[in-house]
């Protein structure tokens, strides 16, 4: 197991969490345990997919974000807005209104992330054609998927396309532009509005690079609230501000399911969204069960970025609004009202030189120990413990499954007596006192859940 530190944006507020186990039961990598009545995350297993955030009934899972005021540390304050942000707003709010408000709340430049999606797609396609032997090649657009493959499918790490995401290209482009216009590099602050926690994590600790291309990340729900409030309270909008015309019609929907896949024409490719679906499919890919597979577009969220955990509103409605916008843009392109060639393509050469991420390394959470002999002993221990557990996956031990408890016990992170069935057996045998069982349960579930309600009546 790798000891590298990986930033996680998902946190659990222990003041709010009441240990309901929903997050633990839904975590696709079994990264959550309940200790002392609160959910806790095993950081090396977490891939930042946000499933826990989605299911948490109390709002205890939250996404750490940069303080909005930190934008004022910079003279030139650029906001990178993914197209999915515009999809949040009801139909009666125009893109130009959103742009105008963003410029009034403190930013000096607005730029749409997907401006570079076309270039990203050209470079990806080129890479795929040049690396036939590594097939199937897998998109690195979704950072949760990259992390999932690193920890759970290390054999597929070499199939990841090591090309930066559109947000990085756009950030590099705009930084270069501003410097050319005379800005001091230290005065430029680039902020990205993110639809999910994984993008934050990837920005704070990039998967294979040393530095990040953006200076800060703002959560989409926070920005939505700020922008919508301004729009609702305003009567007049600055008529001179129009929405930028940076993105082509096919790139507006790049972050939706099939967005990348439709920009290439490989014989056999799939676009799969939702992390459990992805895991199921990757199991088959890993076994070489699917022949002649060229390309995989994999996204952790249902409906891809429209279903990001920080988006506001229904993912299908967001998807529809983005599709409508793409349709309108396509019509304007057909009528010759707007060109499909955008200014960013003039910097193609410079961006191409800066397009590669470093080598993406596996950091398997499956491997029990680097030393095979130790790993084998651990494995036999886990199997032995597991064979004694009831296979009910009841979660009462504070682990998501009997197998997870067996693993925790083998690694001294938990005890056999955490199992409630084990406790009953030992009590019956006389080797464990009821008081001791209650104490064990208190350690897992906290004092409150084991109060003696009957006697206090």
């Amino acid at each position: 197991m790798n000891e590298n530190y990986f930033y996680h944006a998902l946190r659990i507020d222990h003041k709010i969490c009441f240990g309901c186990t929903l997050c633990m039961r839904n975590c696709p990598t079994e990264a959550i345990r309940v200790r002392n009545g609160k959910a806790t995350i095993y950081e090396n297993k977490c891939v930042d997919c946000g499933e826990c955030y989605k299911v948490c009934p109390s709002g205890a899972v939250y996404v750490a974000e940069d303080d909005f005021q930190s934008i004022y540390n910079f003279k030139h304050r650029v906001v990178l807005m993914p197209s999915v942000f515009l999809g949040q707003f009801p139909e009666d709010i125009r893109a130009s209104q959103v742009y105008s408000v963003i410029l009034e709340i403190g930013f000096t430049h607005v730029f749409e992330v997907e401006a570079s999606a076309f270039l990203h797609s050209i470079l990806s396609n080129k890479y795929i054609r040049e690396h036939e032997t590594k097939k199937p090649l897998i998109s690195t657009f979704c950072p949760a998927i990259v992390r999932l493959i690193q920890v759970k499918f290390p054999a597929l790490v070499d199939s990841l396309i090591p090309i930066k995401a559109p947000v990085d290209f756009t950030a590099i482009y705009i930084r270069k532009k501003l410097i050319e216009e005379g800005a001091n590099p230290e005065d430029i602050g680039i902020f990205y509005i993110t639809p999910c926690a994984a993008k934050i994590a990837a920005t704070k600790s990039p998967v294979a690079e040393d530095t990040s291309t953006v200076d800060g990340v703002l959560n989409m729900d926070t920005m939505y609230n700020i922008v919508l409030k301004e729009i609702k309270q305003k009567k007049e909008f600055n008529k001179n501000i129009t929405a930028n015309n940076d993105v082509t019609s096919d790139c507006v929907i790049f972050s939706l399911t099939n967005g990348e896949r439709r920009l290439n024409n490989f014989k056999k490719s799939f676009a799969i969204d939702e992390i459990h679906n992805v895991i199921e499919f990757l199991e088959r890919v890993e076994d070489d069960e699917i022949e002649d597979l060229d390309f995989l577009e994999l996204r952790a969220c249902d409906e891809s970025c429209a279903g990001g955990i920080l988006t506001c509103g229904n993912r299908f409605l967001i998807n529809d609004r983005m599709m409508q916008r793409a349709k309108k843009l396509a019509e304007r392109e057909r009528n010759g009202e707007t060109s499909r060639r955008k200014a960013i393509m003039n910097e193609r050469e410079y961006l191409t030189q800066n397009s590669h991420v470093g080598r993406i390394k596996p950091r398997s959470m499956m491997v029990l120990d680097e030393d095979r002999s130790v790993a084998f002993q651990k494995l036999t221990k886990i199997k032995e413990i597991e064979s004694k557990l009831p296979h009910t996956d009841c979660n009462v031990c504070g682990a998501p499954s009997c197998h997870a408890l067996a693993e925790d016990v083998a690694f001294d992170r938990a005890s056999m007596t955490d199992c409630v069935f084990m406790q009953r057996n030992l009590e019956k045998r006389g080797s464990l006192k009821v008081e001791e069982s209650v104490e064990i349960m208190k350690n897992i579930w906290g004092e409150d859940k084991l109060k003696d309600y009957i006697l206090n009546k």
């Binding site: 890993e286 076994d287 070489d288 499956m366 680097e370 790993a375 199997k383």
Partner: protein, 153 residues
């Protein structure tokens, strides 16, 4: 799922024994044994290419027992150094093992071929992916395929 799974662990010799039951004609569950083996090997820090080879070989043998034999049992013995997989089926047996080892030789029925199996690549494919292969067969009784892959080779 009709596949049974039992587990014996012998602590003294650090061997792990697992068994899978294969049911004739149950193509829907083909790959269950190889998939379980994969999960186990992934935990032992064994080279990914090696795991792939083992999975392919076991999968081929599994399909053989489902498609061409009357079902059978897969015995898996694992220790630190190697994995040994024994597939015992309940017949009909292979009359000419040497010919069965030739690429493209097949006695599969039209029905099996229609399902995409029976191309005559099974045994040759297993041989390419393992270190040791031993096939014993008796017509009317059954076939025993024993394969060994060393982790260090």
């Amino acid at each position: 799922m009709k596949m049974g799974l039992c587990l014996f662990i012998n602590f003294l010799s650090f061997m792990m024994h697992t068994e899978f039951i294969v049911v004739e004609g149950d193509f829907a569950n083909a790959g269950k044994a190889s998939s379980e083996i994969k999960k186990t090997l992934k935990q032992l820090n064994i080279d990914n290419q090696k795991i792939k080879k083992i999975v392919v070989a076991v999968y081929e043998a599994e399909v053989n027992a489902i498609a061409h034999a009357y079902g059978g049992t897969i015995f898996v013995d694992l220790d630190e150094e190697k994995i040994c997989v024994l597939i015992k089926d309940k017949g009909p047996g292979i009359p000419d093992i040497a010919r069965a080892m030739e690429k493209g030789y097949s006695t599969a029925s039209a029905k099996v071929r229609e399902m995409g199996f029976g191309a005559g690549m099974g045994l040759p494919n297993i041989k390419n992916n393992v270190d040791e292969l031993d096939i014993q067969s008796e017509v009317g009784v059954g076939t025993e395929i024993k394969m060994i892959v060393n982790f260090n080779s």
